[in-house]
């Protein structure tokens, strides 16, 4: 049996690995000149790699840890010591505080987390469109929800920062149903938010991209780079996948790309239901890395963690290698700020990021390196962390998320109701689709 996998991100590579292990003749076609998709590494200094895309994992991410063990990768703890910096006032000046708790009214934050907890419990994780109140929750945006549920000014101030960090979303872009689903799918507000004991407990040692490279290495010349897929045409006997370099013939196809990219392919027969809706938006994340000779903030008792209301870096985290040979400060530009920042010239991006970093961490020298990864405008990702489902999307698209379209089967983190939007979701979708393909066509082979 032959299968073509479209997309060499974690989902596609996992599916291809499982299929190859079962003796399937598999070919992976990837548009970019690299594997990994939204998992991507940047070399900050010779031999020192940092995650420009997906980065974190926690102990509940069992499929990811199992896959890492298979290829011999280890984790690095994200544990941070030292005080945090918070610039949440209008003046933009930072305040230093122990721990990660922002200097806002605890009662206000409690109001926010109570409301989110209540919402999260009201959403069915396995099928959000079947939640008791799905139609109403899918009709409003998270922004409208916040105006209705949050009374305290500090709660309203913190909510967009929180949502930006949790799901790279502007509250106007996502439905309440999607917000509740995303939080539930990831293990709840508390698990998703936490470093220690949560979804940001560890990073992949050497960079998450190593996982994709090692999986691709094992697949060898079954992975073809630089071949964007233009068309997927089905007939009675099989499927023809047309790329910019030619065409491939297979028994079945696994499409493991984000929803709006899956829609951009010419499907024949046409898709009965699109993969994305009119309100589906790209995840709004730009990741910025400032590289220094050393993590100098540590000498001042600071952890490198900061939360900032004005941006462009809405939060920063110390991503220096474990040996501290260089200092790496990672800045997250999310939500509305991501679009604004992406429009600036490289020089302006640099100036704004440098200026903010030195205001947060006084005494920092000029960075020796500067990297901007703009996921919003990446042609072959269209957003990061994941597609943002807007009002109406879940109730319309949800029931068809994993339903095969003839010989076309779907994977990608957006098809996983478990850990949606995370590396873990991508890997689980890859295992699921491989099993689905094998079950479907093995059975047919027996009877044909």
């Amino acid at each position: 049996m032959s299968v073509v996998v479209v997309g060499a991100g974690l989902a596609g590579l996992t599916a291809a690995t499982d299929l190859a292990a079962r003796g399937v003749e598999v070919t992976v076609v990837e548009a970019r000149e690299r594997v990994g998709g939204r998992v991507h590494g940047v070399e900050a200094a010779p031999g020192s790699w940092i995650d420009a895309g997906a980065a974190y994992l926690g102990e509940r991410h069992t499929a990811l840890t199992a896959l890492m063990a298979q290829v011999g990768l280890r984790t690095t703890p994200t544990a941070m010591t030292g005080d945090s910096r918070f610039a949440l006032g209008d003046d933009g000046d930072g305040r230093t505080r122990p721990g990660r708790f922002p200097p806002l009214s605890a009662v206000a934050l409690g109001e926010l987390f109570d409301a989110l907890d209540e919402l999260t419990r009201a959403v069915r994780a396995d099928a959000p469109w079947l939640s008791a109140d799905a139609v109403r929750l899918d009709a409003t945006t998270a922004d409208e929800w916040a105006r209705e549920h949050l009374r305290h000014p500090d709660a309203r101030l913190f909510f967009p920062l929180f949502l930006g960090e949790m799901m790279a979303a502007d509250p106007r872009d996502v439905s309440v149903l999607h917000m509740g689903f995303y939080l539930r799918s990831g293990g709840g507000v508390r698990y998703l938010n936490a470093f220690a004991g949560g979804a940001q407990e560890d990073r992949v040692a050497g960079g998450a991209h190593r996982l994709c490279e090692l999986l691709a290495g094992r697949l060898g010349d079954r992975v073809r780079l630089g071949e964007p897929v233009r068309a997927v045409h089905q007939d009675d006997e099989g499927v023809t996948v047309t790329t910019t370099a030619g065409s491939l013939r297979a028994r079945a196809v696994v499409v493991a790309v984000p929803p709006s990219l899956a829609d951009a392919v010419d499907h024949h027969p046409a898709l009965p239901v699109p993969r994305s809706g009119g309100r589906t938006a790209p995840g709004c994340a730009v990741k910025v890395h400032l590289v220094y000779p050393s993590p100098a903030w540590r000498e001042r008792g600071l952890s490198g963690w900061s939360v900032n209301a004005r941006g462009p870096l809405l939060s920063t985290v110390d991503d220096s290698p474990p040996d501290g040979a260089i200092g790496v400060l990672t800045g997250f530009v999310t939500g509305r700020q991501a679009h604004d920042f992406a429009r600036l010239s490289p020089g302006e991006q640099r100036a704004r990021a440098f200026e903010q970093a030195v205001r947060l961490f006084p005494g920092l020298p000029e960075p020796t390196g500067f990297h901007v990864t703009d996921w919003v405008n990446e042609d072959y990702s269209r957003g990061c962390y994941a597609a943002l489902f807007g009002p109406g999307d879940w109730t319309r698209l949800g029931p068809h998320l994993v339903t095969p379209h003839g010989r076309v089967h779907w994977a990608g983190t957006e098809t996983s109701t478990e850990f949606f939007g995370l590396m873990e979701g991508a890997i689980r979708s890859g295992h699921r689709v491989a099993a689905e393909v094998i079950t479907t066509y093995d059975r047919r082979d027996e009877h044909v």
């Binding site: 009662v107 934050l109 926010l112």
Partner: protein, 72 residues
């Protein structure tokens, strides 16, 4: 009498029924995010807005009840 009501808040937020009057919230698995939910419940029930540092110095139902009484 606040002690019982506060213990109930702890139980709900921690999702743990084994809370006693002298149980330390943070030893029982509480963290700063969950602490805010205790403080919002306290504000709703007794109209007292405590901050995070208040809770850090009074992390048991017993101590928190005294803190509320002295603040109200």
């Amino acid at each position: 009498m606040n002690v019982d009501a506060i213990s109930d808040i702890f139980r709900r937020v921690l999702e743990n029924d084994d809370v006693r009057a002298d149980s330390d919230f943070f030893v029982m698995g509480g963290d700063s995010l969950l602490a805010t939910r205790v403080l919002s419940a306290v504000a709703r029930s007794w109209g007292v807005e405590l901050d995070f540092d208040d809770f850090m110095t009074a992390p048991t139902p017993d101590a928190l009840a005294k803190k509320i009484a002295s603040t109200a």
